[in-house]
Symmetry: none
Subunit: 234 residues, 2 copies
């Protein structure tokens, strides 16, 4: 659990309970304080009562558009940075146009790691998060920057694709810990990923070729369980 997330309040707004559940669970697990709302009206009430530091807001709500929620909050000077959730279609462009200031958006379906990473970015930018604000992860001589998407080992730059990056980031957020196949699939792939779980092995293989090409191997298989990022035990 991240210490830096302690006492940060996040309001999750979506009319689909399953989405709210999966996001809330993940955020709680990362140490955020979470509340939920299913409609625009509820969301406005919650903001007024609870003063969240940041909001995860679906663009499509039963009673009003997400933008309308944002507009009304702005009108009453209750500035809450917002991470919009939008379907992957034309509205994506719309969102892009409408997000200003500290806001950001992700398109459904998204991976939980993606969502949390963007949430962190927002908090970092708006200074909403108390404590640490670095965007760089390091383990041994491996470095990963969440802002610039740069990855390097021992100073030499490494080019990763988006999925490779998410996978490595999740591993670096949990150094030494053994992450199960299920955890990796849930966090790195979209929450509704239903395909062949062997993708994971393929991507581990890709990462190994790029990250463990030289230097001692950092990506280790724990047979029957999952994978872990750690130094070799000689």
């Amino acid at each position: 659990m991240d210490d830096q997330a302690q006492d940060v309040r996040v309001l999750v707004v979506d009319d689909e309970p399953s989405i709210v559940d999966v996001i809330s669970m993940a955020l709680r697990h990362h140490g955020f304080g979470v509340a939920a709302a299913g409609t625009g009206k509820e969301a406005l009430d919650q903001v007024r009562r609870w003063h969240p530091h940041v909001m995860v807001l679906d663009v499509m709500l039963p009673d009003m558009e997400g933008f309308e929620v944002a507009r009304r909050l702005s009108a009453e000077h209750a500035e809450v940075p917002i991470l919009f959730l939008s379907a992957r279609d034309a509205t994506a462009d719309k969102v892009r146009g409408l997000t200003t200031g500290g806001d950001d958006y992700v398109t459904k379906p998204f991976s939980l790691e993606e969502l949390i990473a963007r949430l962190r970015n927002i908090l970092r930018r708006t200074g909403g998060a108390p404590g640490e604000t670095s965007s760089r992860l390091t383990f041994a001589d491996l470095e990963l920057d969440e802002d610039t998407f740069e990855v390097s080992r021992g100073g030499r730059s490494i080019e990763l694709t988006a999925t490779e990056f998410r996978l490595l980031r999740y591993l670096m957020l949990n150094p030494r810990r053994v992450l199960t196949r299920g955890q990796l699939l849930d966090h790195v792939w979209s929450y509704d990923f239903g395909g062949d779980a062997r993708v994971l092995e393929t991507y581990i293989s890709y990462l190994r070729k790029k990250v463990d090409a030289d230097g001692p191997p950092l990506l280790h298989t724990v047979r029957g369980v999952g994978y872990s990022l750690r130094l070799p035990k000689d």
Copy 2:
């Protein structure tokens, strides 16, 4: 001899053998387990292999500064609290600035009582009595980490397969208690396991070879009933 020091591993690092000797002797006399290193490189190797609970580290080493050792360990997330030894001069201030978290320092020349008192402080602060809030199970000098799946006895790492790990974990969750064959089969194997119950004996045998290889046996047979994890009588 202090009981609380039992099974606590201290790594002493200094390039002057006489200093190492006098400290090691004192610590052993107080019941600590002690290993020594004379260079920064040796120290790093020892930490990786032996996983000490705390380190006594001279600031001036032939190959690198003590801080460099600390920095590298931090980079690989091998968090070991450190008691720095420094000469009584300007470096004292430097040390004060650089010690963070659970670390502390004493200036040479120091009294052994002083050193041991500060060592105790560190252990108390860091919950050095192994395993307070963590995912680690310990019994005697045996340690098992449920997050990293690492197992070690007396600091030496042990490699277990998935089934061996589950079996040992269940035993360590119920130390000293005699667990029946039925309980073990139900908890470690799938509840509907229908095969030959003699698998259990096979796996106990595997575990004994790995866990009880050296050191007094911890895995005991209770004839006609089951098995228990305990120290040998007498």
